[in-house]
């Protein structure tokens, strides 16, 4: 898993395209032809990534929306962001 911190901001590489397919987000890596489905919460984080938000900003927003423990949400965001980076769907802009 890639090392990602809550203060990080992710960006989307040129070789990645994505689509809203009726509520589901599907992200396609052009170099590999491999695509990934993202669930509802992941889609919310993905929208924040596109908007240039830090993971902390995403955390603050989602904590206000979803009934979830802060530690659980934080861990989920770190895990999700780490997967995005590991799979080449996003890079950390430091």
């Amino acid at each position: 898993m890639a090392d990602v911190k809550m203060t990080d901001r992710l960006t989307v590489p040129d070789e990645v395209v994505y689509r809203d397919l009726g509520g589901d987000t599907v992200i396609l890596q052009l170099e590999t032809g491999i695509y990934f489905s993202v669930d509802e919460v992941g889609t919310e984080i993905w929208k924040d990534v596109q908007a240039g938000a830090t993971l902390q900003t995403s955390f603050d927003r989602l904590l206000a929306v979803y009934s979830v423990e802060a530690d659980v949400l934080r861990a989920d965001i770190i895990k999700f962001a780490g997967q995005l980076v590991a799979k080449g769907l996003a890079v950390v802009a430091r």
Binding site: V12, D14, V16, V17, Y18, R19, D20, L21, G22, D24, V26, I27, L28, L30, T32, G33, I34, Y35, F36, S37, V38, D39, G42, Q50, F80, Q83, L84, K87, L89
Partner: protein, 216 residues
Amino acid sequence: MIQLTARGVIERAGDDLATLAREFASRRCLVLPALLEPSLVARIQQEIDRSPLYERRHGAIAAELCMPENTCLGLLHFLVNDSALFRTIEDITGRRPLTRFHGRVYRRIPGRDHFDSWHNDVREGRAVGLSLNLSTAPYEGGVFEIRREGGAALGAIANVGPGDALLFDIEEGLEHRVSPVVGAHAKTAFAGWFSATRDYLAVLRHDPSLRQEGAV
């Protein structure tokens, strides 16, 4: 109008939907300029040029080169099967619901006996046709024409702008063709049909040209 980009569908300044809907109702076809963003057009043109193409003959209707199922074709389907594009096409054409686009990449080369005869596409729930121009240079000929069966042309369009999309109506009694390509340059297009036969997401899971690797 809208544009398909790597980052989803974006709205651009241009004719409003009501104007386009009136044009479509009258001519049964129209062009959506630069539907595909230039960087994606360039990328896809390179992929097509690297791909093998096979001769495809569709009875007496058409003969052309065709690109096999590959990642490039998967990308094109991925880009066009967008819910925002579906809603826009529904508003322009009045055909709804649209849930899926399925097409092929073809190339017609001058002097190679490639042709397209008058025909309609009324089958498999096809409601609206679209042809996205992916030619690397402006071609001559290759004019799309649509008419009532045996009647005068309702519309005739040479869709030569890179990334421009020709939209055309499909219904009983309407037929269309594309005139022979002449001159020095080939015509290459991603052409197919919008329908409500299956949801694209369900189709995507069985698309051999793209591979799913777990949910993120």
